[in-house]
Amino acid sequence: MSLNRIINSKSFDIGKSLLAFNLRYNGKFVPHPPQYRCFRTQARSLAYAKDLFLGQINKAEVFPYPEIGNEELEELNQFVAPVEKFFNENVDSKKIDEDAKIPSETLDGLKELGLFGMQVPEEYGGLGLSNTMYARLGEITALDGSIAVTLAAHQAIGLKGILIAGTDAQKEKYLPKLASGEHVAAFCLTEPGSGSDAASVTTRATLSEDGTHYLLNGSKMWISNGGFADIMTVFAKTEVVDQEGVKKDKMTAFLVERAFGGITSGLAEDKMGIRGSNTCEVVYDNVPVPLENVIGEVGGGFKVAMNILNSGRFSMGSSGAGMMKKLIEMTAEYATTRKQFNKKLSEFGMIQEKFALMATNAFVMESMAYLTAGMMDRPGVPDCSLEAAIVKVFSSEGSWICVSEALQVLGGLGFTKNYAYERYLRDCRILLIFEGTNEILRMYIALTGMQYAGKILTGKINFTTACLSVADHNVFKTPTVLSSSQDSALKLEQNVYLFGSAVESVLYRYGKSIVDEQLVLKRVADVIINLFAMTAVLSRASRSISIGLRNHDHEVLLANTFCAEAFFKNNYMMTQLQKHAPENNDASIKKIAEQILEKRAYVCAHPLDRTF
């Protein structure tokens, strides 16, 4: 290991001199088969975000920005127009929020529009939308948080299990009714004692004596649509005999119909936001589930659950962007009409800053979401779970900040219920929590990348030096990025190069125990999120320029602004990753937390306290 270190550290110093060397290996490296056992089961040979961990920009994956064909676009617009109209005219978000219920007419309208089966293939009666188109519709459904969550719980996770791992018989039996909205689906994984820890799932499925069905017992918590879902994807422990003949408890996914009997739903939770969506506890008491309703293999529930969760995230970017665009309109209207000191609000610098922030964030979210969706739509079985997680983290946090800023523009008015801002604020808070909290997703993002980089670093030392010094400053010299954003492209390049070496040094410093260094991982994740965001905006802006899209100069402006800002943030975070960096306060942060948590209270004495 120490030998590796020496070789590697040397390779940084002489990075440039290795250029020719790199080029030689570059070609070799690309088809390099990932012989590691990746966290996701199916891995695609090429992935963009993962390669960033090696300091490599896998240009082919992200340039040019993915497009959809003219026909598809037309088709999409046909869907979009009526949905937009419906949301503008028939959805009363305020009432939904107040009543904590989506009226049945609204739900019927959504069903008629086919929104309950957006990604169900057409042969089963769904719309059969691609990921890109799904993302586009997500922009509109996001205008009402409750509806968006109800729909997402139904199709992004609820029925995804059937789509991903269901048998043809299961698809035939369930999908048509689910696609039409006659049946609503739910995803039941979380339990009172089990959030992300699959080992503590206590719901059990035991094979009946005659071996014809399973009996399901247990309870699930915080189930979206749990109050009225007819079909549920339920995860339960079953006893499985492994190859060595040892009995083990493993998770299995089941398709459970409410009609099987024995299912009771608790009272709907009274939530802070997305109040119209139904969330409740579901209790299973000896629910008979026929054998054919097992999704995937018996004992293979873990993979099913992970695949569903990983695939459901990417659309949050477009949802956030949709919401932001609407908010910008609403807020700009106010800012340009309200006057103070004979000046419009919009003339104040600090207000302007907020709009710039909102626009940049919306732009980045949008770019990332459609880039990821486009990558996912490519033929093959793309593994974009890392990108999807990045999109989720960035867009949830971006939305939260932007909604808050929009509310701030209105001042006190934004705080009242007369305006929608407070509702948006409440609704969008959940984005940071569900589908894997952002903290957990950061761990996922960082660790998945680290695993990939670590494998290559330890396995192929020669390749390592090659790909780490990939600062072959030629990546963007080709006309992929046009001159107006050349600067930003250089910034990205520089960041990626540094990031590669930062990851390497972190890996050599912590090795396996990196898993426990959450603060380090957080920074790694934040940098990679920024890097992916920079890539997305650059790619999008380049495309816009080259095909002459409307207002593409504005896009370039946004892209450059974002890249410049992210560049410095990245540099700062990567400095913090260095050993003994004065910017790094981790030790003190940990100490503070430890002392607080030991006492389970704020430990300082009151400033007015005296000792004499």
Binding site: M1, R5, Y36, R37, F39, L189, S196, D197, A198, A199, K250, M251, F302, K303, A305, M306, L309, G436, I440, L441, M443, Y444, L447, T448, M450, Q451, G454, K455, L457, T458, L507, Y508, R509, Y510, G511, K512, S513, I514, V515, K579, R600, A605, T611, F612
Partner: protein, 464 residues
């Protein structure tokens, strides 16, 4: 007596300017040996005007010289005042030794004589009596005592006085008073300061002492992160509760009273005393115990001493030996555990040597788990058995695990000043005939001997 006085007088006249210090020293000497005569004149000249200050030593002697005719009378009077220093307190203490009585004594002293003759002796006497009267932790009383000093008399007026130790006896007395406050952990307040300034001036020794106190006391006030309450609960159950929560520094730990102390007389007239049993166990400990291999015994060990201020209580622990290194089973990594991110990376890289942390190299000694602790009024096996059966409610595994009692006779040399009541069990040798206990205690002790033999002695030292 007369001769002594003449001598003094001669001396006083002989040296025109004996410093106040020398005079004082003489006075001190004389006072403590034969003649209390001088106290009065001394005090008298102390209240002289400023102008005469410088030479007051001699002038004082000059003044005190003439009276020899009324000497007897005076002696009588002074005798009375001297007597009173100690007796004042004894007199007031006849009724009750309370703060009120103490205050009364001080008041009596201050009222008796406007000049406060013998106040230094009085204050020394008072300081000694404070503990007796239970006012040693009362700041107001200290301030009142300070108030006994005459004001402004001892304040130095010029640089020479300031340079030398002005009225050392008085200053020393005040320092003594402050030191007693310090020893009892009493922080002076502004009143104290004002008094000291009035009595000794800004830069006197007592003032310095005061400043030092005020420097350190506030800094040390919260130096103990685990403070013991000043007043310990008198109820043994409450005391046990306090002790147990103090040892088991886990906010989740639950203290359970398995048995309240109880005394009853049966029909046959026998008196039955049930000792208190108070135990503590945290959820973590319950979990540990549930995982304990039932084929390995658990031990009840004790008593171990725990000092709470001036009280010593004893506790017992339920523990097991650490697993031998070969039998430790580490939970295997389950890749299908975390739904969101890998809990472990499959990497061949270990942590770099330079990043192992700056921790001190401490040899870890595996001590084995402690599952529960208890305190009881009687440390015999029968009582502790009751504790174990109480624990069994929450820890079913205890029913299957062999429980060995390894009880010491108890450290007899640790006598608790607060009385015998806190001692968990009487030392068996001196008190072998507690009726109900013999059956239990006997075998327990036997067991002790047996187990002690098989258990190497050093392990006992480690386990607290």
């Amino acid at each position: 007596m007369k001769c002594a006085r003449c001598l003094l007088r001669l001396q006083g006249l002989g040296s025109v300017v004996p410093s106040a210090r020398t005079a004082n020293r003489y006075a001190y000497l004389l006072q403590s040996t034969t003649a209390p005569v001088l106290t009065k004149p001394l005090v008298a000249f102390n209240s002289h005007g400023e102008a005469s200050r410088h030479f007051h030593g001699s002038s004082a002697w000059a003044k005190s010289s003439p009276p020899s005719s009324d000497l007897k009378e005076k002696e009588k009077e002074i005798d009375k005042s001297l007597l009173s220093r100690d007796e004042l307190f004894e007199r007031v203490a006849r009724n009750a030794k309370t703060k009120a009585a103490f205050d009364k004594a001080i008041e009596a002293f201050t009222k008796r004589d406007r000049r406060r003759r013998g106040h230094v002796e009085f204050i020394y006497a008072a300081l000694q009596k404070m503990v007796e009267f239970g006012v040693e932790r009362d700041l107001a009383v200290y301030n009142r005592l300070l108030d006994v000093f005459p004001k402004e008399v001892f304040v130095p007026r010029n640089f020479i006085q300031r340079m030398f130790n002005h009225y050392p006896r008085q200053q020393e007395c005040a320092v003594q008073l402050l030191e007693q406050m310090e020893n009892h952990g009493i922080m002076p307040n502004v009143d104290t300061k004002v008094l000291l300034v009035q009595i000794f001036g800004e830069k006197s020794h007592p003032m310095r002492k005061y400043q030092r106190l005020m420097y350190w006391f506030p800094r040390f006030k919260h130096v103990n992160p685990f403070p013991v309450p000043r007043l310990l609960p008198s109820d043994p159950v409450d005391l046990a509760r306090l002790g147990l929560t103090r040892i088991a520094n886990d906010l989740d730990a639950k203290v359970t009273v398995y048995q309240m102390p109880y005394t009853d007389i049966t029909e046959t007239g026998e008196e039955i005393t049930l000792p208190h049993i108070v135990g503590t166990q945290s959820p973590d400990q319950v979990e540990l115990l549930a995982k304990h291999d039932p084929s390995r015994p658990v031990f009840v060990e004790g008593p171990f001493p725990l000092w709470l201020r001036n009280v010593c209580v004893h506790y017992y622990v339920l523990r097991a030996d650490p697993l031998p290194p070969g039998e430790k089973v580490e939970e295997p990594y389950d890749p299908e555990r975390s739904l969101y991110y890998p809990l472990e990376l499959s990497l061949e890289l270990e942590r770099d040597m330079g990043d192992l942390g700056d921790d001190f190299d401490v040899e870890d000694l595996d001590e084995g788990p402690v599952f529960a602790m208890c305190m009881t009024g009687q440390g015999d096996q029968a009582t502790l058995n009751q504790w174990i059966s109480g624990l069994q409610e929450a820890n079913a595994v205890l029913g299957r695990v062999p429980t060995l009692f390894r009880l010491d006779a108890g450290p007899r040399e640790l006598q608790s000043p607060a009385g015998e009541s806190h001692r968990p069990h009487p030392p068996p040798e001196t008190d072998p005939c507690v009726p109900g206990d013999e059956g239990g205690a006997g075998p327990a002790r036997q067991e002790v001997d047996v187990t002690l033999e098989e258990e190497p002695q050093h392990s006992r030292g480690v386990k607290q």
